[in-house]
């Protein structure tokens, strides 16, 4: 499956490069449209409890997972629909899970926050902040010496949890093949992360001598390049790496949060919107022109599967 194989952009033919670009772009648009649909169903009372949408952060999940192999393992967060779809989970089965149906990927037992799909490498999405860090660290322990890696996605808020400090140290001293991906969307639930976080996030893994970088999490190719480097480090047996991907969520924290605490005008400047590519690193291939200007509604993959969802 393209996008789940560790191909290197630039090493491909132009046709393959276009194909890769389109596949990754489709996944990003699929996630956005899926989340729009979930939101609509939520407002209709079809999705139960609470749900946390990934809208705006798509480039992080799609960029990182695009360099993984099928035997690698990924742990996501309760904002995890994007992680699941990026790994190739069937959107209809994911949506059915959110609706609490037996046809859901976990037969309706997991719901929005705790989706598991081992077939696609998703160890789980974790409803308690920081839980994904533990899961991937343990996976790293199991994957030592195999050439496979574990990836943890987590938010900026998780960097103040015990899991973060304990597990990063554990992985470093045990030299485990883990890539820690912090999706810094600026807010821990309703509170700006700067108000509750001492110092910078990146200083923390650096203090443990874990290779780390902060980057533009809305730029697919920047994310992908950094992820490839981190994954290759882990595959070689050279231990964990850390990526802080700066991004933004276009929606509130959860169903009960309209996001009123965010200043006017903040939203358009941060976070990813179709069409992809906001800066100098956008791909110089035909795919870019093909996609440009096809904002919401673009991408043949975006409607696949989800059209049957509304009951």
């Amino acid at each position: 499956m393209l996008g789940r194989t560790a191909v290197t952009r630039g090493s491909l033919s132009v046709a393959d490069e276009v194909g890769l670009y389109l596949e990754l772009y489709r996944r990003m648009v699929l996630i956005r449209q899926f989340e729009d649909l979930v939101n609509a169903l939520f407002l209709q009372g079809q999705v139960h409890g609470t749900t946390h949408l990934y809208s705006g952060q798509e480039a992080v999940a799609v960029g990182v997972t695009s360099v993984l192999d099928p035997a690698d393992r990924v742990a996501g967060t309760y904002r995890g629909h994007g992680h699941a779809l990026a790994l190739g989970l069937d959107p209809q089965r994911l949506l059915d899970e959110l609706l609490g149906r037996e046809t859901g990927i976990c037969a309706g037992r997991a719901g929005s926050m705790n989706v598991v799909d081992l077939e696609h490498g998703l160890m789980g999405c974790f409803g308690i902040v920081g839980g994904s860090i533990a899961a991937a660290t343990g996976a790293g322990l199991a994957l030592r010496g195999t050439g496979n890696v574990a990836v943890a996605f987590f938010g900026d808020g998780a960097t103040n949890q015990g899991y973060f400090f304990e597990c990063l140290n554990f992985a470093k001293v045990m030299n485990l093949p883990v890539v820690y991906v912090c999706e810094n969307n600026g807010y821990g639930e309703y509170t700006p992360f700067t108000a509750v976080t001492a110092g910078s996030i990146i200083a923390r893994p650096l203090a443990m001598e874990i290779p780390s970088q902060t980057l533009d999490g809305n730029d697919l190719w920047v994310v992908r390049a950094a992820a490839r480097q981190a994954v290759e480090t882990a595959r070689r047996g050279d231990g964990p790496s850390f990526i802080e991907a700066l991004t933004y969520r276009f929606v509130g924290h959860s169903r009960s949060d309209p996001g009123k605490y965010r200043p006017e005008g903040e939203r358009p400047a941060r976070g990813w919107s179709p069409p992809a590519g906001r800066g100098a690193s956008r791909p110089r291939v035909g795919g870019r022109e093909h996609c440009r200007g096809r904002a919401h509604g673009a991408g043949s993959g975006s409607s696949k599967g989800t059209g049957r969802a509304v009951p």
Partner: protein, 321 residues
């Protein structure tokens, strides 16, 4: 058959399971090169250097690493040095490991074992002496195993490692030096044992309190009381059928728990037997520790615990009622 110490039985179980199954890994603080602070695991690291690992003092990371590695096919055993430190593992054990089989719609189970030294009488004070059972008793998806003899320590640990579910394996500190015969059989999880037969009263215990109950039963003979003593061996799941069989004969039940009175496992035994056999009961009660922190002073600590004399006095007092 040679007698071996309780701690040696645990070590032998680990050794045999590490040899038997390549997916078994064992880790914790000071367990590898140092052989464990209670000298339970010497020599294992030398035999299995890639699978017996010293870790940082990071209980939450240990529990998380066990969970994540179990998802990926390992059978991790990890040691939490004192049971009092188990609260540091709670999120991973309770919310990740215990739920995973259900939440994932049975895509994978979590075959991990947490070994932990528990219990009072060692002069360790209020936060190195507790019995943490009630903190975990109400967690569906978790098993709680509590051996009282070297044979069951070995047999239950081997069963726990082979079990597909997360298992909390508790080792009472005052049993580590206890010697007994060990034949190497597996002890099934969820099955208690009648360790002394009698017709007059059923005394249920676990771990150290089994031995206290047996000592009490010996003294009660002088008072013409023949006590039946049951070792529950596993507290979740709990072998209530065995207790009910005994109570059908004796009509009297006392449960001896080294642990706080409120919300303890003894309360659970009393509740289940009362629900199932109220019409067969002439008397039913608990002997527990007080709802108070464990004292540090040796004199006070000894007075705090349900020793054999306390059990004898309580049973005689109930007979006089």
């Amino acid at each position: 058959m040679a007698e071996i110490e309780f701690r040696r039985a645990i070590r032998d179980a680990l050794d045999e399971e590490l040899a038997r199954d390549e997916s078994v890994i064992f880790f914790g603080e000071d367990v590898a090169k140092a052989g464990g602070v209670f000298a339970v695991t010497p020599g294992l690291w030398e035999k299995y250097p890639d699978r017996v690992l010293d870790t940082p003092i990071s209980e939450l990371a240990l529990a998380g690493a066990a969970f994540g590695s179990a998802v990926c096919g390992k059978r991790p055993v990890f040691e939490i040095m004192f049971g009092d430190f188990l609260p540091l593992t709670m999120d991973s054990l309770v919310n990740q490991s215990a739920k995973y089989w259900y939440i994932s719609n049975e895509q994978a189970s979590i075959p991990l074992v947490v070994r932990s030294a528990i219990g009072a009488g060692g002069r360790f004070g209020a936060i190195h002496s507790q019995t943490p059972i009630s903190w975990f008793l109400g967690v569906p998806g978790l098993k709680i195993v509590c051996p009282a003899t070297p044979a069951d320590a070995k047999g239950l640990l081997k069963s726990a490692i082979r079990d597909p579910n997360p298992v909390l394996f508790l080792e009472h500190k005052r049993l580590y030096g206890l010697k007994g015969e060990v034949n190497g059989d597996l002890t099934p999880i969820g099955k208690g044992a009648v360790v002394r037969e009698g017709d007059d009263i059923t005394v249920v215990g676990a771990m150290k309190s089994v031995h206290d109950a047996l000592a009490a039963a010996g003294k009660l003979v002088e008072h013409s009381v023949e006590a039946e003593v049951i070792d529950l061996r596993t507290l979740r799941p709990m072998d209530i059928d065995l207790v009910l069989e005994s109570v059908a004969k004796t009509s009297r039940l006392v449960v001896v728990e080294e642990g706080p009175r409120t919300g303890g496992w003894a309360a659970e035994v009393v509740a289940r037997v009362s629900e199932a056999a109220l019409d067969q009961l002439d008397d039913i009660w608990r002997i527990t520790t007080a709802d108070a922190p464990i004292p540090y002073s040796p004199t006070l600590e000894d007075a705090f615990l349900p020793a054999p004399d306390v059990i004898v006095e309580s049973i005689l007092a109930h007979r006089r009622k």
